[in-house]
């Protein structure tokens, strides 16, 4: 019998990606919330190298690093595929996943920094959203094409929690006039039934974030 466990943390976009992938594929799993300020022995046992969530444990075998986990999920449960069969499309999905993975610093600074540092981060975030809007998404419904794919999950935090961050910080970057495709994508992404059920109501998230819980 299959045993799937996921060690995650609610504010982490890396954790959310894995939850969405499992939900989209209809995989039954046990979710274990890890306290990032006080990491469990079990987490340290399963991910001794980085000591981070998320970690997927499948029949006792641990897999760490969200993008590695997503590819593992895709190969193990091929239903509702997250990657195209076409190698070039697959390479693009991986490219945009890596792109956003390397941009956690400007998003973190946008959320947490003040004054000049914050302004600089806001500009960086706007610039990279522009790249996503024009070069990654274009006129497609999703980054993966007609269906949600790997890159959509990697970028999903923009749809699930960026709006809340903007509210908390009091700065609006993602305007529909400037980013029509991205805003459209956000609606499509949030409306997907598997994604929808895992989204927290916006006001709840805003309250939690105001209490100072980190969102990177």
């Amino acid at each position: 019998m299959e045993e799937v466990k996921l060690f995650g943390a609610w504010p982490s976009p890396y954790s959310s990606r894995v939850i969405w992938a499992l939900e989209l594929k209809g995989v039954k799993y046990e979710y274990i919330e890890d306290d990032l300020a006080n990491k469990s022995d079990l987490l340290l046992h399963y991910n001794p190298v980085h000591k981070k969530i998320p970690v997927l444990v499948h029949n006792g075998k641990p897999i760490a690093e969200s993008s590695v986990i997503l590819e593992y999920i895709e190969e193990t449960w091929p239903q509702n595929p997250l990657l195209s069969d076409d190698p070039h499309e697959r390479a693009l999905a991986r490219f945009w996943t890596k792109f956003i993975d390397e941009k956690s610093v400007p998003f973190a600074k946008f959320f947490m920094a003040d004054g000049e540092e914050h302004e600089k981060a806001a500009k960086e975030v706007r610039d990279l959203l522009k790249i996503l809007e024009e070069q990654a998404l274009g006129v497609k419904e999703f980054f993966g094409g007609n269906e949600i794919g790997l890159a959509d999950l990697a970028l999903g935090f923009i749809a699930s929690s960026f709006g809340v961050i903007e509210q908390v910080v009091g700065v609006k970057v993602l305007q529909a006039s400037e980013f029509p495709c991205l805003c459209n994508w956000i609606n499509n992404f949030r409306e997907n039934p598997a994604i929808k059920k895992s989204l927290q109501p916006v006001d709840q998230m805003a309250k939690k974030k105001k209490k100072g819980l980190c969102a990177t």
């Binding site: 190298v49 499948h58 075998k61 897999i63 760490a64 690093e65 993008s67 590695v68 986990i69 590819e71 593992y72 190969e75 193990t76 190698p87 070039h88 697959r90 390479a91 991986r94 490219f95 890596k98 792109f99 790249i131 070069q135």
Partner: protein, 221 residues
């Protein structure tokens, strides 16, 4: 229709070498195009094919670009899948290879570039980090001939291309990597016996000359 394969690269780049090794493993004919990075000149083609990062390597296959070295290696593995599979077929082993290749990308480059681009205490700290990382990788290798067992593959490719830079690190840092990680060096020499590797890696003496030149520019001895 014949495949048209172009690789935009820089002779000393350990990332570019990964693509070269993968193409050689698969016996793919391609056109190699050198970017003049030493003089900071990037071709129009590079800027067009990788507008986001403007970096090499870029593989252009029948006009379509693929960027990021590990993504390129996976692409090569998927397109030319009839010969010399690079990634393991079993999902958990694949995940293991991907995890450690990601580890190499996150940790190794920064640690080793600090060995030659800094001095004094910073350099000593970089050496310590670098050896620790290599020891972790050596631990993963164990007593196996290659990282995934009997066959040369993805994770071997991810790491072996750093080998031609080891001479430069050792000379700048005044230490012996073999003394610290004998099994890893034995593995590297084993990989170098493969033509795909020995023909793709840069000459270590030329790499050292390059490093000396950059050090002079930076004002670091």
């Amino acid at each position: 229709m014949a495949d048209e394969v172009v690789l935009l690269d820089y002779w000393a780049s350990m990332f570019g070498m990964r693509a070269r090794v993968a193409l050689a493993e698969k016996g793919v004919k391609y056109e190699y195009r050198e970017e003049d990075l030493r003089n900071k000149i990037k071709s129009q083609l590079l800027l067009q094919m990788n507008p986001v990062h403007k970096k090499i390597p870029v593989l252009i296959h029948n006009g379509k670009p693929v960027s990021e070295s590990l993504i390129i290696v996976q692409y090569i593995d998927e397109v030319w899948r009839d010969k010399a599979p690079l990634l393991p077929s079993e999902p958990y082993q694949k995940a293991h290879s991907r995890f450690w290749a990601d580890f190499i990308d996150k940790k190794l480059y920064d640690a080793c570039s600090k060995i030659w681009s800094t001095k004094g205490e910073e350099r000593e700290a970089a050496k310590k980090d670098f050896i620790e990382i290599l020891k972790q990788l050596e631990g993963q290798l164990g007593d196996k001939p290659y990282f995934e067992g009997e066959k040369f593959g993805f994770l071997d490719i991810a790491l072996i291309t750093f080998y031609c830079w080891f001479h430069a690190f050792e000379t700048c840092g005044n230490f012996s990597i073999e003394a610290e990680c004998p099994k890893l060096i034995a593995w590297a020499k084993r990989c170098m016996q493969r033509e795909s590797v020995s023909r793709s890696l840069a000459d270590e003496k030329k790499v050292y000359e390059l490093v000396l030149g950059v050090q002079k520019m930076l004002g670091v001895e």
